[in-house]
Symmetry: C2
Subunit: 429 residues, 2 copies
């Protein structure tokens, strides 16, 4: 048995090949049935001829509906009029399952398609999306492994919240309330004392009521923490990581990008260094293009969209006002009202994909910020301990993998970047 | 700046080196302070001499407690009496943080150590455990990527349970109840029609009240589904995968295994093929060694421990009685009271690490089993659809990554195999 991509090559022309898959298109005309078969590697046109099969066989194969499954044996030929330039002339076949009508056709509503996501995933678009996504996950991990990072794992059911309590999902843990984690960061920080450079790729959960095109209630979060490096060095790592992923996707999924309408060359042009712009300068840029933003305003989805439409490369926004960022980000010694942070905004209107910063490593500074934030010190005992015993300077970041995938593939909605999106209105299938 | 492993080499003997890390041991004697420093790569003994430093410097470095953090510059020498054969003679140093007393010392109770897991992880044993774990995760994924599998992602908040409802954690989803997923299997099955060969590595959640040494309420679950293959071929893939992981761990973590007291050569001997024993024969074996088991009894932790003490390789147990296994496993045509399944039991008393099977792909057969099991058909509409539209034969498995790690490292308790174990009695830190 060959994959369709393997079979569709010069080497097999004139030979008998066996392939299997699903009916992608079918039509009959003048005693010949043309069936386009798809598998995970591609499509190929096959022909069944009335005068070469028994009447029962010809009837069986001619009556297959879209997405019927079958295997077949036939002769591979060159055929310039077929969609791929190859064609298989069928001698024998076995039907695994005959469908009459496949539920997904053109012109169906969004809700119907979401209810039938398990079938919709078979489209060529989704197949390409899933392949690109797989490359993105693999290459993220490879980038860090190859630089001596270790992959680690942090808990999901937690009692301490990294980013505050309003967007936490509550779980009934044998009768006690507990929360689903929103970030691995604090736990990753505990592991730099053993391993120095760590990353994790895991789901995070946010009970956000947002219905924007870039929010999910569960999403894949890739996070890293690194001992001994500062905010600038962290940005150096990240821009190289993003470009490494882009290059791998172009190399391994060129045709998938094309099929999705994403120009691989536009991506290839997004080479580091990425611009690094202070928050205060981004506010100026925003006002120059007619937005009404003042210093101290946060950048939401809308603002980021308008701003990043101006950029053709990802852009780091640094030095946010302290009030807009969490307690663990250190103040900039040159301007204590700002913190040593960086958000990475994807260009072309996509907006935030990474949030990162240097982390406060001084015990007194951390305790002051915890008190200012009004947090319960006892819940953070283990996080505070890290600054009491052998604390070292360090930085880290969190990357929204689904957002990265959405931007790399230039998709319209984050729901298209993940097989089974979970939003405030959607938990099935 | 060099890592301790890089600095501790012939090439640097006689040269000035810079290293940094944490105090692992310290003692003073006759005007010399011996400090063993550790970083993520290893340890090295350093000496500070009273007559080569200022009195303030000598006092500062001599008074550092365990786990204090520092960087230092000094001359690398060979020193047969040091723990690694190398020694650095300190010229200059910078203390990042001085500790007086590190909370973790010898002879501390289990609960204290679990409460201070964030500090306990710095031990050399845990550092090695975390490194081996990282290799296991990387090599699992590499094995499948290299065979053309795609990594995919499935949802966590679900309304359909794979293995029944009694051990589900309930989440408050904006006021509605929803459950944490226990297995990606059904969702993986939906993706074989696009990609044919898929895997995922993700947390699974089980509200089991067991307090055995091999259960966690959240654990890392690696699952795969593969179109067109049967139960036997699935076992072939799995035994090769297990052996690939073992080989990578031996190659990349030989010293870690030694430090943990696991003999790498005992692991290396566990070459495929692994024995494949029918459930009915395992019951006979159990009774021969004095256990009181009858056909139809399930194998729990205790039974698997006793049975696998007899094996020095992993063993597949196939052909379970239908009643002991879930509805989606097909009956063996040669014996319809048994199913085409396989559990992989790790030897040396460890027991089940994989559960897998062929999956029912015939629509009528599936519907009959769903009805026999008394399940709500409407909740499974999307799973049933897979047998209505282009169904194909397929098989899959789920592997408990923490259990695999526990067995590979020969650990006593699964809690030692994961940084932050979650059990019925433990949700912090
Ligand atoms: Mg933002
Ligand atoms: Mg069992």
């Amino acid at each position: 048995m060959l994959s369709i991509a393997e079979a569709s090559s010069e080497a097999h022309v004139g030979s008998e090949v066996s392939v299997r898959g699903w009916v992608y298109r079918i039509r009959s005309s003048g005693g010949v049935t043309f069936i386009v078969i798809r598998d995970s590697t591609g499509i190929v046109q096959c022909t069944a001829k009335k005068n070469e099969l028994t009447p029962e066989q010809y009837d069986e194969i001619s009556s297959l509906g879209i997405e019927s499954s079958l295997s077949l044996i036939g002769t591979m030929k060159k055929e310039p009029r077929s969609p791929t330039g190859y064609e298989i002339s069928i001698h024998k076949f076995t039907v695994y399952q005959k469908n009459d009508v496949f539920p997904i056709t053109k012109d169906q509503g969004e809700e119907f398609l979401l209810d039938n996501r398990h079938l919709w995933l078979r489209s060529r678009e989704f197949t390409s999306i899933l392949k690109v996504r797989s490359t993105i996950f693999r290459s993220f991990a490879d980038f860090f492994y190859d630089q001596g990072y270790y992959q680690v794992h942090t808990p999901f059911m937690v009692s301490t919240a990294v980013e505050g309590g309003s967007t936490l999902f509550k779980v009934d843990f044998f009768g006690e309330p507990i929360f689903l984690n929103q970030s691995a960061q604090f736990y990753l920080e505990t592991m730099i004392y053993s391993l120095e450079k760590v990353f994790t790729i895991a789901p995070s959960f946010r009970a956000e009521k947002s219905r924007t095109r870039r929010h999910l209630t569960e999403y894949w979060h890739a996070e890293a923490e690194v001992a001994w490096i500062d905010n600038r060095e962290m940005m150096d790592v990240e821009e190289n990581m993003i470009y490494y992923i882009i290059q791998r996707v172009i190399e391994e999924n060129y045709d998938d990008l094309k099929l999705l309408g994403r120009d691989p060359e536009a991506l290839r042009a997004m080479k580091p260094p990425f611009p690094r712009v202070k928050y205060s300068d981004i506010i100026k840029v925003a006002n120059e293009i007619g937005m009404q933003l003042k210093y101290g305003d946060d950048l939401g989805a809308d603002e980021e969209r308008q701003i990043t439409m101006r950029y053709c490369k990802p852009v780091f926004v640094t030095n946010y006002p302290k009030e807009l960022k969490p307690f663990y980000m250190p103040q900039d010694p040159d301007n204590p009202s700002e913190v040593l942070n960086h958000d990475l905004l994807a260009p072309e209107g996509y907006g935030e994909i990474i949030g990162g910063s240097q982390r406060i490593w001084d015990y007194k500074e951390l305790m002051q910020r915890i008190r200012e934030a009004g947090l319960d010190e006892s819940a953070y005992y283990w996080y505070i301990d890290l600054r009491k015993y052998g604390s070292v300077p360090h930085s880290g970041f969190g990357l929204g993998m689904d957002r990265l995938a959405m931007w790399i593939m230039h998709l319209d909605n984050i729901r298209e970047a993940i097989p089974y999106p979970r939003t405030i209105r959607r938990t099935k299938p």
